[in-house]
C-alpha cells in the first residue's frame, strides 16, 4: 500500500509547469528532450502578430523512463498560450508519435494541458490536430499504448479533448477537466442560462474528473499530485496490451455510448447523472476524497 500523501509534501500537478510535470512524473533524471529550446524556433505566425513566442512553442517532447520502462513523452505547457496547438506545437507532437511507431517504446505519455486549436494559427492548428488524431491511432495500431494524463490548469478541450479520448486510456485528477467546447464558448453562443461559465462547481460537475470517472470516460482517478499521476500511469500500463483495431471493439463502444445516451437523456448536471447511477446522496460527491469515490464507484450497481 502507498503511504498516505502528506498534503504539505504534495506537488500539485494542476499548478506545475510542463517541465516540472515531466521531472516529477517520470523516473528521476531520465528525461532527454528532443528539440530543446536552443535547437528550436518560436512560432513565426505569432511573431507576425507581435505576440511573444516561446522557443518550445508550448510543448515539450522527448524520451524518458517510467518505472524503468522506456517511454516517449509529450507535455503541453498550459502557461503558454493556454497550451493551444499551432503549427510547430502540433508538428512536435506528430513527430513524437511517428517516432514512437518506429521505436516501439513501452508507451507514449501525453500530458494534455490545452484549450485546443490556437486561434492565431487556426487552420494550422486544426490540421495539426487532425494529424495528431491519425498519428495517435497509427501509434496504437503499431502496438504502442498512448496514455493521456489530464489534470492541468487548461484541461483538455477542443481538439485536444478529442485526442485524449482517442488514447488508450486517460488518467485524470478531479481538478482536471475534459470536454469539447469550453463553458465560456457555450455561454457566449447559447447564453448564461445554458452554461454559466463562472459557476465553477457546475463546470466541474459537467466536465471534471469525478464526473468523467463515474461515467467511465477516464480509466483512473488520481489526486492532484504529480506522484499520484506517476503511480496512476504505472498502474494503468502494468500488463496493458494494446488491442488491434477491430469492429468488435468499436461495436462494444458504440453500444456503451448509445445506451448511456438513452440512460442519461435530457440531463444537464452531474448531480442528475450520479443519482441515475444509483449514488445514494449525489450532493456528497463534490466533497468526497478520491479514495472514497473510487470505493463508491466499485459498489455501484452495474
Amino acid at each position: 500500500m502507498n503511504a498516505p500523501i502528506n498534503p504539505s509534501r504534495r506537488h500539485s500537478y494542476f499548478e506545475a509547469t510542463a517541465r516540472n510535470r515531466v521531472a516529477a512524473v517520470l523516473d528521476a533524471g531520465s528525461f532527454t528532450e528532443f528539440l530543446p529550446p536552443e535547437a528550436s524556433q518560436p512560432s513565426p505566425h505569432l511573431a507576425v502578430l507581435d505576440i511573444p513566442g516561446a522557443f518550445d512553442d508550448g510543448v515539450i517532447v522527448g524520451s524518458a523512463a517510467l518505472g524503468g520502462q522506456p517511454v516517449l513523452v509529450i507535455a503541453q505547457e498550459g502557461q503558454f498560450m493556454g497550451g493551444a496547438v499551432g503549427e510547430i506545437h502540433g508538428a512536435k507532437i506528430v513527430g513524437l508519435l511517428r517516432r514512437a511507431m518506429a521505436e516501439k517504446p513501452a508507451a507514449v505519455i501525453l500530458m494534455v494541458d490545452s484549450g485546443g486549436v490556437r486561434l492565431h494559427e487556426a487552420n494550422a492548428g486544426l490540421i495539426a490536430i487532425s494529424e495528431i488524431m491519425r498519428a495517435v491511432l497509427d501509434t496504437r495500431a503499431a502496438g504502442v499504448p498512448v496514455l493521456a494524463l489530464v489534470g492541468g490548469s487548461c484541461g483538455a478541450f477542443g481538439g485536444m479533448g478529442i485526442v485524449s479520448r482517442l488514447c488508450s486510456a486517460i488518467v485524470m485528477s478531479e481538478e482536471g477537466r475534459l470536454a469539447l467546447s469550453g463553458p465560456e464558448v457555450i455561454e457566449t453562443v447559447a447564453g448564461v442560462e445554458e452554461f454559466d461559465s463562472k459557476d465553477r462547481a457546475l463546470v466541474w460537475r459537467v466536465t471534471g474528473g469525478k464526473q468523467r470517472y463515474l461515467t467511465g470516460d477516464c480509466a483512473e482517478l488520481v489526486e492532484d499530485d504529480a506522484a499520484a499521476f506517476r503511480q496512476g500511469a504505472i498502474d494503468v500500463l502494468a500488463g496493458w496490451t494494446e488491442p488491434a483495431p477491430s469492429s468488435a471493439t468499436l461495436r462494444a463502444e458504440q453500444d456503451r455510448l448509445t445506451s448511456r445516451r438513452q440512460r442519461f437523456a435530457g440531463m444537464r448536471d452531474g448531480l442528475e447523472v450520479w443519482a441515475a447511477l444509483g449514488v445514494p446522496d449525489p450532493r456528497q460527491i463534490p466533497i468526497m476524497d478520491r479514495d472514497s469515490l473510487v470505493a463508491l464507484r466499485k459498489g455501484l450497481p452495474a
Binding site: 488524431m133 495500431a141 485526442v163 445554458e194 435530457g266 444537464r268 448536471d269
Partner: protein, 236 residues
C-alpha cells in the same frame, strides 16, 4: 444547390440516400460499383446522436460490405454547443466516430470526403478530415472561426487580421487556405461524377492511405514548418 442536386450530379447512375435529422446515409452507383454515402446536411451541429448515427453506419458497412468505398458529404457548422452534450463527454463520441472512419481505412475501405457546405472545427475533425482525402466544392466554407469572432477573442484588430489573411493561409477561413496547407486535396468547381470517380480510382490504385497532408502543405508552400519539425523530432 440542394443536397439532391449534389447527389444527382455526383451519381448520375443512381442513388438511394435518405436524410433524417440532418444525417445523410445511403448508397449510390458509380462506374466501378456501389459506394456508401454518409454525412450531414444543414449545416448540422454534431452532437452525440449524429456522431453515433454515423459511427454505427460505418461499422455496418465494415461488417456487411467489405471493401465498399465510402463517400462522406460534409456540411457541419461544428460541434453541438450545449451543457447536456458536454455532460456526456461529446469529445468522446466525436473521437469514437473518428475511430470508426479510421477502422474502415484499416479494413481496406477507400474513403473520400467532400465539403458541400460548411466545415467547421470539431464537426470537420470527427469525420471529414479523417477520410483518406478531403475535397471541397468551390463555394464551401471551411473555418475554425470567422475573422470577426477571432478578432474579438484574440483582441487583435479585425482590419489587421483581414490584411494578414491576404498573405498567409494560416488562420483565415477559406477552402483554398486548407488546400494550400495540404488538408484539402482539391477544390471542385461543381459536384462532378467524373471528378469523384477519378478521385476514388486514384485512391484505390494508391493502396492503403497514409497521412500525406504535411508533405502536400509544404509542396504547395502553405505550411512551411511542420514537415521539417517532424523530421527534426525523428532525427533527434
Amino acid at each position: 444547390m440542394t443536397l439532391h442536386d449534389i447527389l444527382d450530379a455526383l451519381f448520375p447512375a443512381g442513388h438511394a440516400v435518405e436524410v433524417s435529422d440532418q444525417l445523410v446515409a445511403g448508397t449510390a452507383q458509380t462506374a466501378t460499383g456501389t459506394v456508401a454515402v454518409l454525412g450531414t446536411t444543414g449545416p448540422a451541429a454534431i452532437g452525440h446522436d449524429i456522431a453515433l448515427g454515423l459511427a454505427g453506419r460505418i461499422l455496418d458497412i465494415v461488417d456487411r460490405h467489405p471493401g465498399r468505398p465510402i463517400v462522406f458529404l460534409v456540411d457541419t457548422k461544428g460541434q453541438a454547443l450545449s451543457r447536456a452534450e458536454e455532460l456526456l463527454c461529446l469529445n468522446g463520441s466525436l473521437a469514437h466516430l473518428a475511430r470508426c472512419v479510421d477502422l474502415a481505412r484499416r479494413q481496406g475501405h477507400v474513403s473520400l470526403a467532400l465539403v458541400t457546405g460548411e466545415a467547421v472545427s470539431g464537426g470537420f475533425l470527427s469525420f471529414g478530415l479523417m477520410a483518406d482525402k478531403t475535397y471541397a466544392l468551390a463555394d464551401a466554407q471551411v473555418r475554425v472561426m470567422d475573422l470577426k469572432a477571432m478578432a474579438r477573442v484574440t483582441k487583435i484588430a479585425h482590419e489587421r487580421l483581414v490584411e494578414l489573411a491576404g498573405s498567409s493561409p494560416t488562420f483565415a477561413p477559406g477552402a483554398e487556405n486548407y488546400q494550400r496547407m495540404g488538408a484539402i486535396e482539391a477544390i471542385w468547381p461543381a459536384p462532378s461524377a467524373s471528378l469523384l470517380e477519378a478521385a476514388l480510382a486514384n485512391q484505390a490504385a494508391a493502396g492503403p492511405a497514409t497521412d500525406g497532408r504535411m508533405a502536400s502543405g509544404r509542396a504547395r508552400d502553405g505550411r512551411r514548418l511542420a514537415a521539417d519539425v517532424v523530421a527534426a523530432v525523428l532525427a533527434a
